[in-house]
């Protein structure tokens, strides 16, 4: 397909052509209508004028016979104007009038007739068109009364040429304009197509061009660019996860395989086999846990979970989860304090939010103690969990006195499988915070890490909901307003 045929096939160009044809037809009709009406009007005027002249001449004839008529014609012929007169005798010779001669054809005709005549003009003789009425008079005489209508012929010519020129210019502008607009649009579409092709070939960094004019194509491009950015982000996430899976799942799988192989190779006896198998199951359980966590995050991020959202009291859930972890904290020499008294409501999936809070507390207990059980100034290291309303959000804050997370790492630790060097000694998959972040996103909230001076402060915020009405209020409201006259 050549560039030109491609251009002619564009919608814009075809639209231009259609409009051009429509406007052209309309113009032709309009001009023709004007021309036709003008002609009708002029013809009527012509007839009227000739009729008036004839009436005058007829009066002269009835009043004074042929002689008077001839005299009147001679008089009138001397006044300049568009009127034409001719009186001929039976042989067709001129008796009076301002026409020099008449053709034989005209001499023989009768009634209204159109003819050409010659008259002197600057630099020679010109042939002009005329219209006349021919009458026979007694004695073979003939009277011809007419008017010069060369102007009318001229008008027709002018209008025809105007129409021709007008239509040509219109066609030129129409096709030219259509061509330019289509070329412009085609160039932009081609740019989009080109970008789309490079993206399809695997270069996800490509973005559609935006001209900055803010037109509909720009808006479309901007939205597609946002979509591309999201896709790129997802793809990057996927790639990162694949890399991480390769590392974090393959390593334990390899360890498991090695152990089984070693147990098979050496004739250890039943106890050793049993031990090896138990280790294998342990390792497999760990793998399953990691796998489950990964699946959960993937589902949360795909928005495929959370059909069981309900209005719940965050403070109560925080107390509940803290109670679950309290004995573990105590065993590790950590004081776990839950400060969540006033109810704060949000719409959430109890299991998902519960797990998120559990992960945060679990992290704080695992990584939040500087030197286990020694603490600052001999006090027990403290992990505190609070829940409260902050503006339109319900916030769950978990703080610890551990080493914290450096500012530059705060964004990164929310990613999958990310574990800071300092925490490698503790068992864990590096998926805990990713899951919390995913739960927060699913509920329209957010997760942020802050400095607790010293230690880490993790804030999980969710959109707060109005508390449900208590039974008394609900009953009262249902009863309706009691209107009393003042």
């Amino acid at each position: 397909m050549t560039a030109l045929t491609k251009l002619f096939r564009t919608t814009t160009f075809r639209l231009s052509l259609t409009y051009l044809a429509l406007f052209g037809a309309a113009a032709v009709v309009a001009i023709f209508y004007i021309y036709w009406n003008t002609t009708v009007l002029l013809t009527r005027q012509l007839h009227d004028t000739i009729d008036a002249e004839l009436t005058g001449l007829a009066e002269q004839y009835t009043g004074g016979g042929l002689n008077r008529l001839v005299r009147t014609v001679a008089d009138r012929s001397r006044t300049p104007g568009n009127s034409l007169y001719f009186v001929a005798d039976a042989d067709g010779r001129r008796v009076a009038g301002n026409l020099t001669s008449i053709s034989e054809e005209l001499a023989k005709s009768l009634g209204p007739v159109e003819f050409e005549y010659r008259r002197p003009a600057e630099g020679g003789i010109e042939t002009r068109l005329a219209f006349a009425n021919v009458f026979r008079l007694p004695g073979g005489y003939r009277l011809i009364v007419g008017r010069d209508i060369e102007d009318r012929r001229e008008l027709g010519r002018v209008i025809r040429s105007a129409m021709l020129w007008g239509l040509s210019v219109m066609a030129l502008f129409g096709i030219g304009g259509g061509y330019l607009v289509s070329r412009n649009l085609l160039a932009r579409i081609d740019a989009v197509t080109e970008t789309a092709r490079t993206i399809m070939e695997g270069d996800l960094t490509g973005r559609l061009p935006v001209t900055g004019s803010g037109d509909e194509l720009d808006r479309l491009s901007q939205n597609l660019n946002l979509m591309l950015a999201r896709i790129e982000q997802l793809m990057a996430g996927l790639r990162e996860v694949s890399d991480n899976i390769a590392h974090d799942l393959k390593t334990p799988l390899n360890r498991l395989r090695n152990r089984v192989e070693a147990a098979l190779r050496e004739p250890y006896g039943e106890t050793a086999y049993r031990e090896a198998l138990e280790h294998t199951i342990e390792e497999a359980d760990g793998l399953i846990k990691t796998f489950n966590a990964l699946l959960s995050i993937a589902r949360l991020e795909a928005g495929a979970a959370g059909d069981n959202k309900e209005r719940l009291d965050v403070a109560a859930l925080v107390r509940d989860v803290a109670e679950l972890y309290e004995p573990v904290a105590e065993e590790r020499g950590i004081m776990l304090k839950a400060e969540a008294v006033d109810p704060v409501f949000t719409r959430a999936d109890r299991q998902l939010l519960g797990q998120a809070i559990a992960n945060l507390i679990d992290n704080a207990i695992k990584y939040g103690a500087p030197d286990r059980a020694q603490g600052v100034n001999g006090e027990r290291p403290e992990v505190s969990v609070t829940a409260g309303a902050v503006g339109p959000m319900a916030e769950i804050v978990v703080t610890d006195r551990g080493p914290g997370v450096p500012t530059c790492e705060r964004e990164r630790v929310l990613g999958r499988f990310v574990r800071l060097e300092a925490s490698r000694s503790e068992p864990g998959s590096g998926l805990g915070l990713s899951l919390v972040a995913a739960v927060a996103r699913l509920h329209g909230g957010g997760l942020r890490l802050e400095d607790n001076h010293p230690g880490l402060k993790v804030v999980l915020s969710l959109p707060a909901e109005a508390p449900p009405l208590d039974d008394e209020t609900a009953k009262h409201a249902a009863a309706g307003p009691e209107l009393k006259p003042a």
Partner: protein, 226 residues
């Protein structure tokens, strides 16, 4: 117990049947939903183990049909779909418990034994007695050898659940689900610590321990004297 396993994967099914037989149960097997439904209609089983994804007739449809026909045999659903939403769907369809693949056989065993027991009359009783340990569900009082034991509300519910399933193995996940109503993995051995606290209250000053740890499975409360 007479168990029907409805599972399309041959290896899983034969592993389950062998393991159940080792535990002294009678295990029958159907490879698709329709056969399973037919068997469950005709024979009286103590428990059905139903895989969720089955050829011919979906696992949930099998359960739904049985329940519609007033067949109340306890059902344990096995599924690779492990999310809370899936669980809720399974239980809504008429399943009694839900276990996600892959699972430990000990977990499955503990759960089917608990389910089969659920139909027994003990469910509604107001007093649980194990040896000299007595739990009164109405007055919320616990005594051992006549001595009152003070428990936190959660500890009370933990003991109540253990005693309701006295003599059976109760897994950590079962405790987390039934005592705390959490269906997620708490990552740390939180349950162990709660159980050991409870144990220190009910067993510490007595000669015979009642609350036992079952290695690789969970816990069991029983009077070992009998």
């Amino acid at each position: 117990m007479r168990v029907l396993v409805i599972e399309d994967d041959q290896e899983t099914a034969s592993f389950l049947r062998r393991a159940l037989k080792e535990q002294g149960h009678v295990a029958e097997y159907a490879a698709d939903g329709q056969t399973g439904l037919d068997l469950a209609r005709v024979n009286a089983y103590d428990i059905l183990i139903v895989d969720r994804m089955l050829p011919k007739l979906d696992g949930l449809a099998v359960i739904g049909t049985l329940r519609a026909e007033e067949i109340r045999t306890p059902v344990l659903i096995l599924s690779a779909l492990g999310e809370v939403d899936d669980r809720v769907k399974g239980l809504r369809a008429g399943g009694d418990d839900y276990l996600t693949k892959p699972y430990a056989f000990s977990e499955l065993l503990a759960r089917i034994e608990a389910l089969a027991r659920r139909t027994s009359p003990e469910e509604g009783s107001t007093r649980f007695v194990v040896g000299d340990l007595v739990l009164d569900r109405l007055s919320h009082k616990v005594t051992r050898a006549g001595e009152a034991i003070l428990l936190q509300p959660r500890e009370f519910r933990l003991l109540e659940y253990l005693m309701k399933h006295a003599g059976q193995v109760v897994t950590r996940t079962m405790l987390l689900e039934n005592v705390w109503d959490y269906h997620f993995d708490p990552q740390t051995n939180v349950i162990d610590v709660h159980v050991s606290r409870l144990r220190s209250k009910i067993d510490k000053n007595f000669a015979t321990p009642l609350l036992h740890t079952v290695r690789g499975a969970g816990y069991s409360i029983r009077d070992s004297a009998h």
